[in-house]
């Protein structure tokens, strides 16, 4: 894992010009609040960058600066090689944006919205009409195509909003919490839509509170807290910062946890974490297979009855909590029913997330 070097000067090095999105030392204050405090980011062309961070970390502010809506107080940013402040017009020809709150016209119909925005992207009338129809189909909005969005459900509005930013295949697409409020099926479809665009060469900057979303989509993750990037890496790199694999043991009798912890201490890389309420014990380990067989042998020798045992990788949720001290899905965002982050992680991880903040 690389930790973001805090380049405060705002200089952009020559090699970094290969990046679709580049931010150096961005600062933005709102009165007393510092929303961005030396924010750095580099997203290579054709990749997906996930921006994670607790509520109020500055994710939306960063997206608004990069999409030319907000002028930074300090630092520099380029999108597609153009400065977001001095060449905003050039930048706008190269970006698509889905903001955190749906921004659609409430009075025009869904189709009317897509056609109007299509025209404003300078499609001809017929092309705009055809593209609208395609997007209505793609986003499952044909049933409500001729209804104004003020009569849509929250998820439908969100989908229409996404459809608008998909009208063109922009070189750079900003998605600020694109799937918040969507049901699991539509989230999957949005993910597929993003993958399609990436396959066509679009670079995506995505903010989210759903860690499975970055696990699914992102090539690279930046974790942001209090306006600056505090960690950066691929999902795997970030997970391995928690010390690699974890051994999970669930006992029949919680009273035995203390003894089990003692017995397992020999093979642990660090002190075991004990969760009496779940009758569970988590031990960071180095070698997957040896650790598992060793653990079984040690526990059996001690005469401790094991209900369940397994090795798993740490989840991104754990990484997030460790880095920021925040629970990832706290705050106003909806929590999806199933937040198992790592499909390989094994089931029943609900109680693995620390409630601490």
């Amino acid at each position: 894992m690389r930790t973001a070097a805090a380049t405060l000067t705002g200089e952009i090095a020559a090699g970094e010009r290969e990046c679709a999105v580049l931010a150096r030392g961005l600062r933005k204050r709102y009165g007393e609040t510092t929303a961005l405090d030396g924010f750095d980011l580099a997203v290579p062309y054709g990749t997906v960058c996930g921006l994670l961070g607790p509520n109020g970390a500055g994710k939306s502010t960063a997206v608004r600066v990069l999409s030319t809506l907000l002028r930074p107080d300090g630092g520099r940013a380029e999108v597609g090689g153009f400065d977001v402040v001095t060449q905003a017009r050039q930048v706008r020809y190269r970006i698509g944006l889905t903001g955190q709150n749906p921004a659609v016209d409430d009075v025009l119909t869904g189709r009317g919205n897509l056609e109007m925005f299509g025209r404003l992207y300078h499609l001809g009338p017929r092309a705009a009409r055809r593209r609208a129809q395609e997007l209505l189909e793609q986003f499952n909005l044909t049933d409500v195509a001729d209804t104004p969005p003020r009569r849509y459900s929250g998820g439908m509005r969100r989908r229409l909003d996404l459809a608008v930013s998909f009208i063109m295949a922009p070189p750079v697409l900003f998605l600020d919490e694109p799937t918040t409020g969507l049901d699991p099926r539509h989230r999957l479809e949005v993910w597929n839509g993003v993958r399609d665009l990436v396959a066509q060469g679009t670079t995506v900057l995505l903010t989210t509170h759903y860690l499975d979303e970055v696990d699914q989509l992102a090539d690279d993750i930046s974790v942001i807290d209090r306006g600056r990037v505090i960690a950066r890496g691929t999902p795997d790199e970030l997970k391995s910062t928690l010390g690699g694999d974890q051994l999970d043991v669930v006992l029949d009798d919680p009273a035995e946890l203390g003894r089990a912890a003692e017995a397992l201490a020999v093979l642990a890389g660090a002190p075991p974490r004990v969760r009496p309420e779940a009758s569970r014990l988590t031990v960071p380990v180095r070698e997957r297979v040896t650790a598992l067989t060793e653990a079984l042998r040690v526990l059996e020798a001690a005469g401790i009855a094991v209900r369940d045992i397994g090795i798993r990788r740490p989840t991104l949720d754990e990484v997030f909590v460790r880095l920021t001290g925040h629970h990832p899905e706290s705050g106003e965002t909806d929590t999806p029913a199933d937040t198992a982050v790592d499909p390989a992680a094994g089931a029943g991880d609900e109680d693995e997330r620390e409630g601490g903040r």
Binding site: R92, Y93, A103, F117, R119, A169
Partner: protein, 293 residues
């Protein structure tokens, strides 16, 4: 997402063969830029007009007050009203109501602007490759079209109650032009005020501020019949200049007293709107830019 067929078909630009609906390029010549500004502005105008077509009750609601005023002031209170220099009160009243309707239009502009900013639509526009001027240009054209329709309806209403334009075609057109000029100036006041507001709901309270502005003028009563200090305020009111000038052009009674402002109503009916634009156009542009602060 079902993508059974090639989603972009012949929309593929540049023949890259990747199936990308590539964004357009920025216009390079000033002429191309102007062309897009016009096309984009018209797209926005059509959208604004669609809003009114979709909610005719709002448009009719906007006309209710002037029409009710015709009945209330023209008939219920009319017999008690005095026109200085004599003349029919309803002939005196109608130009006042024309002017008042133009002034109320300011609220229409402001509430449309604040609705767009608070719903994020303005931000969406700002992030798009459209001509930056199109948002306000489209707004102005739509508002002017609506003002012309409102005015037509009220002129018809006036004809029904016995109001007439006595001054000939040129004078008639000049009067209509002055009314629309006032409305045009107030678009910029409306845009500025709309950008200051935070919620669409606050736009409705604007009406209570605009109402006295429309009343403390020569709309219903000649200023020389008011207490002297109020009469001065009423005469200085930009709306009074337009109303007095249209009375003159329509050949309606109640031309103001001997004050300089009253004698130069035609001049002032041009000076005031130009002054309003000169002040509020730059203010609006600056406020619009400050959205990115």
């Amino acid at each position: 997402m079902t993508r059974a067929h090639d989603p972009h078909g012949d929309l593929v630009s540049g023949g890259s063969g990747v199936g990308v609906l590539a964004p357009t390029r920025p216009p390079e010549t000033p002429l191309a830029r102007l062309r897009w500004a016009v096309v984009d502005g018209w797209t926005v105008t059509r959208r604004d007009l669609t809003h009114w077509i979709r909610s005719p009750e709002e448009v009719l609601g906007g006309l209710t007050f002037p029409v009710v005023s015709v009945l209330l002031f023209g008939y219920v209170l009319g017999s008690a009203m005095v026109v200085p220099g004599g003349g029919d009160y309803r002939e005196f009243l109608m130009p006042g109501l024309f002017g008042m309707t133009m002034v109320f239009g300011m609220v229409i502009t402001a509430s449309a602007v604040v609705t767009d900013t608070s719903r994020g639509v303005t931000d969406r526009f700002r992030s798009m490759p459209m001509a930056p001027s199109a948002v306000v240009a489209g707004r102005s054209v739509a508002d002017m079209i609506r003002a012309a329709l409102d005015l037509t309806a009220l002129l018809g209403c006036g004809l029904l109650v016995g109001w007439r334009a006595h001054g000939g075609v040129a004078a008639f057109l000049a009067a209509v032009g002055l009314l629309l000029l006032l409305r045009f100036a107030l678009i910029w006041v409306g845009i500025y005020v709309g950008l200051l507001l935070r919620t669409p709901e606050s736009a409705t309270t604007l009406m209570t501020l605009v109402l006295p502005f429309a009343m403390i003028a020569n709309t219903f009563v000649a200023p020389e019949l008011m207490p002297s200090w109020l009469g001065v305020v009423a005469e200085v009111n930009p709306m009074s200049a337009t109303v007095a000038a249209t009375r003159e052009l329509f050949g309606n009674p109640g031309l103001g007293g001997g004050s300089w402002l009253a004698r130069n109503a035609l001049l002032m009916a041009v000076v005031w709107p130009v002054a309003l634009v000169a002040v509020f156009f730059p203010l609006s542009v600056r406020r619009f830019r400050d959205m990115s602060r």
